[in-house]
Symmetry: C2
């Protein structure tokens, strides 16, 4: 069978735009004489529409749009299109009509059959049981162009990992081919798992498998999810026969009788992270300008480099905001970086505001020692300046804090945490270095100057401050230890054995800063387990 895969960007609740893309893809597929055309999961409504799925009008409008699509597609081609289906009568909690994460089989100008997702993920960032009920059919089998197609929606294939082998069930019922419509967000290493499942599923069942994945970067309620595309097709021996591009829309044809001849796809994790961040920025920011505080440190340098790759140099504005204690070196490093990146660079000293605050608050602070308050004030003045620039000229502020700092609360709420998107909020400090090196390698020159790469990290809020001294350990310890805190799988005893006596202090820092993270800008999700909606720890709890 000749199958066309449309790896499209279906945007949340952009019904019109999504429908046009579906119709356009059908024209390409018709020209290419494909017998079947496959789209990603929930392609009409957009996978990330969240609670809009609970809105009856939205679901009805999606169903009308689907009928319209069915009429506009060439009657000689079959298409599998994802949409939200809704029961006409049956209701559940909150008096809502039951809904399904469904796939329409379009044939001869109409919806000839509907299949629903069986396994609804309700872990990490996924909340599908909030919206959908499981499949109304026992088996999702369709007759298409003389073949029996087993139809799966995303998680239906992941059940493979926890003893729910739906692929085998479909094969046992006579499927000649497996087709999966997915919306699988990329995280580090995710591709490996997808490949493993698809290889095993096609080989062990002895039938080809075609996997169409969503592409785009969308709000995931509390974090920015990146869908990488990279649709995949395997022959019946588990060899790769076709694949889609990463982080962009794609359209390709698969002959299901073809034999595998492509080399196994290799992940390059660090490249993937870089590209995912660039893509995440592009998709969030669109045509807007961005403002970034440039301290002369590595985090802001990498954020600026990524922003330039994402948006172009003319859209990126670097702002140095020195205080009395900022070193001239830092200022020079920030200026050099901007020169390397060919971006606008402004220097706005924070002294006048800082002096005004300190003098104004003198009476209120009487008898009190200098403490973190004065450091926070500096960070907040910088946040206010960046917000003022973006308010006045339009555009967004990008925050520059990394996952390790966010974990340890080594950041100021409403200060360096102020902004629309956190570029590195899910990238640990060691990865920040690796990504900066990668940038220079890719550019074949020192875009991020050696000075910045080599200096000791400092928040720059007090004289002679060094992050590693303030936090009590080098980043080579802090980064993996914080990752372990976030993942929450290792016991405290194990961590103490591995990392020594700094663990209790860092763990209590980690716990005490949950409140800051709740008010953080959304971060581009990179890791399997990230701060945000996929990891819900109470602000105040008794578990140590």
């Amino acid at each position: 069978m000749k199958v066309a895969v449309s790896q499209m960007k279906s945007k949340p609740a952009f019904l019109e735009e999504n429908a046009e893309k579906i119709v356009q893809a059908s024209q390409r597929a018709t020209q290419a004489q494909a017998e079947l055309l496959v789209f990603p999961e929930l392609s009409v409504n957009g996978y990330m529409a969240m609670d809009l799925f609970l809105n009856d009008d939205f679901v009805q409008a999606g169903k009308r749009k689907l009928e319209e699509i069915a009429k506009r597609i060439n009657p000689n081609i079959s298409a599998l299109v994802g949409f939200v289906d809704m029961d006409k009568e049956k209701r559940g909690p909150e008096n809502l009509l039951l809904r399904y994460n469904s796939v329409a089989l379009l044939q001869e100008g109409k919806v000839s059959d509907v299949f629903d997702k069986t396994l609804l993920p309700q872990y990490d960032v996924f909340s599908e049981k909030r919206y959908f009920h499981p499949s109304r059919k026992k088996l999702n089998l369709a007759q298409i162009a003389g073949q029996r197609c087993g139809i799966q929606v995303c998680e239906d294939m992941w059940g493979h990992l926890y003893g729910q082998n739906l692929g085998k069930e479909l094969r046992d019922a006579g499927a000649d081919i497996l087709i999966n419509l997915s919306a699988s967000p990329w995280t580090k290493g995710k591709l490996e798992t997808r490949k493993k499942i698809l290889e095993e599923m096609s080989r062990s069942n002895g039938i080809p498998a075609i996997y169409t994945n969503l592409v785009g970067s969308f709000d995931g309620y509390d974090g920015q999810l990146v869908f990488d595309g990279r649709s995949l097709a395997y022959d019946k021996e588990g060899n790769l026969i076709a694949r889609g591009k990463k982080f962009e829309e794609d359209f390709f044809l698969v002959d299901t009788n073809a034999k595998g001849r492509m080399p196994t796809l290799e992940d390059s994790l660090i490249d993937d992270i870089y590209d995912a961040l660039v893509f995440g920025i592009q998709e969030y920011v669109g045509q807007e300008h961005v403002y970034v505080g440039s301290s002369g440190g590595i985090d802001s340098a990498l954020t600026l480099a990524l922003a330039v790759d994402a948006l172009g140099a003319d859209k990126v504005h670097s702002v140095a905001m020195p205080s009395d204690i900022s070193s001239p070196d830092s200022l020079e490093d920030a200026a050099n970086l901007a020169k390397q990146l060919h971006i606008q660079h402004q220097v706005i000293p924070i002294g006048p505001m800082y002096t005004a605050y300190v003098q104004t608050l003198e009476q209120a602070f009487e008898g009190k020692e200098k403490n973190v308050t004065e450091e926070n004030l500096q960070a907040r003045i910088r946040g206010d300046i960046l917000m003022a620039l973006s308010n006045k000229h339009g555009g967004y502020v990008l925050t520059t804090g990394n996952r390790t700092e966010t974990g340890l609360g080594y950041c100021t709420l409403y200060g360096d945490m102020a902004g629309a998107l956190s570029v590195l909020g899910d990238v640990d400090k060691q990865e920040v270095y690796a990504l900066s090196e990668l940038k220079n390698q890719r550019a074949r020159k020192e875009i991020i100057p050696k000075n910045i790469l080599g200096k000791a990290p400092s928040a720059g809020l007090a004289l002679g401050q060094s992050d590693e001294e303030s936090l009590g350990a080098p980043y080579s310890t802090l980064a993996p230890l914080t990752n372990a805190f976030i993942e929450g799988r290792e016991s405290r005893t194990n961590l103490e054995t591995q990392y020594g006596p700094i663990v209790p202090d860092l763990l209590s820092r980690f716990h005490a800063n949950e409140f800051k993270r709740r008010q953080a800008a959304p971060a581009i999700k990179v890791q399997e387990k990230s701060f945000g909606h996929g990891r819900r720890i109470p602000i105040y709890h008794g578990w140590k």
Copy 2:
């Protein structure tokens, strides 16, 4: 049967503290010669422990604590205690052992039986399918003191509303009495629904029903939930025979043979809101001090009054931060209010900082008109000052914005939105007035001065500014209309018919400000549908 109800505050993951309370209640129950003692849902682990439920060590520690409790309770009394149970082998997604929202029947020094929740709510703020699997038993029936007790956990009773009548199933299987262990967060009007279900359940089945509810206010991931207690007991004719206090721990006895003689419980919605807000502040803030920006307007006045009722006057600090355009009247109103409330009042003018920002940014703003930027700057200076005071002296900043403003984005991110807890973030502007009047009624004097109650609301960020002029309608329209936007049940056409041509502008304001709400301080949840985790609308979407 003589049943003791322990309406306890079981705190998330405070295993030790929760266990001690359970043992203490058992001593009281033993003294009172009760045959059965009932606790709220998940009483050992704490209902709001969220993703800590996914931590194996935490679940194991809870189970050990349960065994310890069983040994410490008098062997002659039976107790029903909520805890998280975990399968020894069976695993699901993410390779996690299956978990249950369970009830242990403690008898004779050990766990004699375990029952699990059947209906797991996965709507609004509830995410139980993220953690738990449904009941392993077909029927939750226990033999206790010669009676057959039908055991339910919270939602098992709410299924009554959507055709899952578990009460009847238990009765048909021989139950003599229904016992429900709950953790049901209070929202406006919730008590009415609970009463309706319990009355109908006991009357239609002809058996008594006892309902034990959690009390406390806990982080609900993105909003502060308030559990009101108000445990209830009904005789077999559907008459109320006993009830627990609201917003505090309680312990009471129920004779299930007693006949109803209590008057039907009446809700007073506005009183409930007031008390819930006071309780929410108490529970969040504990023994800390709070700082509140006092503008001379109604929102900050009510916030201060509530804080004083919650924490006492010595813990509450009022801060007026006038600018050049602040009216002397406003300042005087703020000072009068502080006098009425007997709280510390400081005046910190923002002029010096504002001047410093404007002069410093002169070059960066060259050629640009004054706009919302300058207004935001004023709000952010005020936010910075309040944060500095709380950083320097310890304690929390309470934000003062209401639900109507939050809905329309009539607030400044990192400005008046900066703080640890939003007291009125789920209270609409009309309710703000009603609560202020209530405060004065309760105090039998003008705690909140008439001047404040009577003046036209203004953000005070530009000369002669009036909220109602800026927003294009009076609050008597803005408040219900914004509520309708939040609830999302009415079609736009219906709203336009009802509210006229202002709808499109206000609706686009509403949609455009989703990003601000994501970074807001958690608000005390008051309404059935609130901003936050129970209402997840994408920051960017195509549904108009």
